[in-house]
Symmetry: C2
DNA sequence: GTGAAAGCGCTAACAC
DNA sequence: GTGTTAGCGCTTTCAC
C-alpha cells in the first residue's frame, strides 16, 4: 500500500510490477497475447493486476505502437433505416474483430475533410466511409498518411482504396425480371438526382434488362431524397397509370414514399393496377401497409466483408486495391 | 529536407520546431487554443506545420493530459428509428463540442461490462449510455475510475450519475387528455414487458390521468418489442372494439405495428372506430399510412442537454448528480 | 524467460 | 512570450 495514494484510478504497470515482484516489461508481456512469458509469472501478474484494479492504458500503448485500434467510421444519414442497420452491424463487427469504432456523422460534404482530420490525428488503424459525400480529397489524405480506407457503396475509382458494393447490376436486373414476370409491359425507373451514388448502377442495369426483355421503359428523376423522394415521384407515375407500369425505385425509402402515397392518398390498388419494387429490404418494407417486394442487401454480410477488407489492407498495405461485390437476393412480397 | 525520411507520415512537433526555428513547446502552444504565444510566432509555426503536413498527435497529447476527448457511447437497438435519430444528433453534438464519440452497440446486457472496459482503457472523458441494459455494475466502475457517466432514458437512481429523460409524466398525461378530448370513454395502454425502461412512467401517468378524467382503462402487456409488439397487441385491442377505445402505446414503433395491423389486416377504420396515439414522433409516424398522433421528443434537444450534462460534470466532478427533464409536445395527426 | 534502458510525441512546470 | 527539463504509461530492443 505504502505511497499508493497516486492520483485517482491510475494504477500503472509499475504498480503491478512492484506488487508482483517483477519488472514492468513482464507486466507488459502478461497483457500482450503471444509474447514469451511463463505461465507462472503471467498468472502471478494477473493476480496482482486484478487486486490492484489495473487496466492497460491503451493510449500509452497506442503512442508507443504508433497506432491505435480505433477505426474511424464516417457516415451520412444515419437517421435512415438502411444506414442505421448498416452501422449497427458494422460497429458490432469491428468490435468483434478487436477494433474500436469512432463514429462521425456528416451532414454535408463540407465537414468531411475536417472530420477526417480528427481521425487522422488519433492515429486510427483505418477509416470506413459510408456516406454520399464525394471523398476524393479524403482519399488522398489517407493515402499520404498511410491509413487504410474502405469505401462502402461508392463508385469512385481511386488508387489504394478498397471498395465494397452490393451487386447492383444483378439487383437491377432482378428487379426488371420480377416486374416483367408479373406481366408488366412498361417499366418505370425512379431515381434520385444525386451524383456518384451507387443507385445509378442499379437503375442502368434495370433499364438495360428491360430493353433486353423487350419491354418499354422510362426514367423519373427526383431531387428530393428518401421517403419524400417517392412522394414526389407519385404524380408522374399516376400519369402513366393507363399502362399499368412496373415501377422500380433505387431504394426502399423511395419505394415506400411512392407506394404509400399511391395507396393511401390516391387509392391506387397495388399490385392490381401497377407494381412497385424497392431496394435494400429495410425493416419497414415488410410492414403490412407496404408489403414491398425488394432487393435485399445483407448488412451483416456487408459488415463482415468490410472489416475483412480493412484487416487485409492493414496486413498488406501495398496489395492491390480490391473491389468486393456482395450478393443480393430478391424478396418477393405483395407489391409486385 | 535533410534526413526527413522518417517513417511514413510521422511529422512531429520536433520537425516543425526545427523548421520554424522555435522550440517544441512553442509548437505545442501554437496548437493549443488560449495559450500564451505571440501572433507572430504562431503564424510562423502554422506555416511551417502546413508545409510539413504536420498534425498534432492526439494520442500523445492524451497520454500526457491523462485524458482523451473521446466519449464512449453505449447504445442498444441502433437499428430502431428513434435510437438512430438520437445517436445521429448526439454524435454530431459531441463533435461540435470537441468530443469524439466511440460507438459501442450492444445486443444483450452481457457484453456491456466488457465494452465499458474497453472504453475505460482508452481514458475516455465520459460515457453516455442509451440502452435498455441495466448498467448498475457499469456505474460503479465509472465512479471508481472517476469517469463521468450520463444515462439517457433510464430510471435508475444511482449516486454520481447524471440522467436525462423526456417529461414522461407530462407525455403520458397529454396522451390521455388528447384521447378523452377526442371523445374516447375507455382508454387502453399498451406496454412492453421489459423492466427498468422509461416507458412505464409514461404508461403510469397515462392511466392515472385517465382516472382523473373519469374514464375507464386497462393495460395490455406484451413481451414482443418494437413493431412486432404492436402487432401482437392487435388481437386484444380488437376484443375491445365495441367500446371504441383510445389506445396509447409507449412508443411509436408499437403504435405503428398496432395501427398498421388494425387498418391493413382487419380493415378497422381509425379514427372512426378507435383512436391510436404513440410516443417519440419517429419519421415513420408521419407517413401517409400511419398519420399517427404522437408525443414528440426532440433528439436535438436531448443531444444538447446530454452533452451539457457531460461537460458540467467534467468541469465539476464533485457536483450533485443532476436529473434533467426535457420537454415533450403533442403532435396531432389523423389517428386520434 | 526476464530485466534494464530507451524512447513513442506531446504538454506542463519552471526559469529566463 | 519563449526555451529547458521532466515526465505521461507503455512497449521493445538488447543483454543476460
Amino acid at each position: 500500500m505504502s505511497v499508493e495514494s497516486r492520483k485517482s484510478g491510475s494504477v500503472t504497470s509499475f504498480d503491478v510490477a512492484h506488487k508482483a515482484g517483477v519488472s514492468r516489461s513482464a507486466v507488459s508481456r502478461a497483457f500482450t497475447p503471444g509474447s514469451s512469458i511463463s505461465e507462472k509469472t503471467r498468472s502471478k501478474i494477473q493476480k496482482a493486476a486484478a487486486e490492484l484494479g489495473y487496466r492497460v492504458n491503451l493510449v500509452a500503448r497506442g503512442l508507443n505502437k504508433q497506432r491505435t485500434d480505433i477505426v474511424g467510421v464516417i457516415v451520412s444519414a444515419l437517421n435512415t433505416p438502411y444506414r442505421a442497420g448498416q452501422i449497427d452491424a458494422l460497429t458490432k463487427q469491428l468490435v468483434r474483430e478487436g477494433f474500436r469504432p469512432m463514429l462521425l456523422c456528416v451532414d454535408e460534404d463540407k465537414d468531411v475533410e475536417q472530420l477526417l482530420s480528427i481521425l487522422l490525428n488519433y492515429q486510427v488503424s483505418g477509416v470506413i466511409i459510408t456516406s454520399d459525400a464525394p471523398p476524393n480529397a479524403i482519399c488522398e489524405e489517407c493515402a499520404r498518411m498511410q491509413v487504410p480506407l474502405v469505401l462502402v457503396h461508392r463508385t469512385d475509382q481511386l488508387p489504394f482504396v478498397d471498395r465494397i458494393n452490393g451487386d447492383d447490376i444483378k439487383g437491377g436486373r432482378m428487379a426488371a425480371e420480377a416486374l416483367v414476370k408479373a406481366g408488366r409491359q412498361h417499366l418505370i425507373a425512379v431515381r434520385q438526382e444525386a451524383p456518384g451514388f451507387t443507385g445509378v448502377v442499379r437503375i442502368d442495369a434495370f433499364l438495360k434488362r428491360a430493353d433486353e426483355l423487350g419491354v418499354t421503359s422510362n426514367t423519373i428523376t427526383i431531387s428530393a431524397v428518401e421517403y419524400d423522394g417517392g412522394v414526389a415521384a407519385a404524380p408522374e407515375v399516376l400519369n402513366q397509370l393507363d399502362v399499368s407500369p412496373g415501377v422500380f425505385c433505387h431504394s426502399d425509402l423511395f419505394a415506400l414514399g411512392l407506394l404509400d402515397t399511391l395507396r393511401n392518398k390516391h387509392s391506387i390498388r397495388i399490385p392490381e393496377q401497377m407494381s412497385v419494387i424497392g431496394y435494400d429490404d429495410i425493416p419497414q418494407a415488410s410492414w403490412a401497409f407496404a408489403d414491398l417486394t425488394t432487393i435485399r442487401q445483407s448488412p451483416n454480410r456487408f459488415a463482415q466483408v468490410t472489416v475483412d477488407l480493412l484487416k487485409h489492407r492493414i496486413k498488406y498495405p501495398e496489395s492491390e486495391p480490391k473491389n468486393e461485390i456482395v450478393d443480393v437476393t430478391l424478396v418477393m412480397r405483395g407489391s409486385v
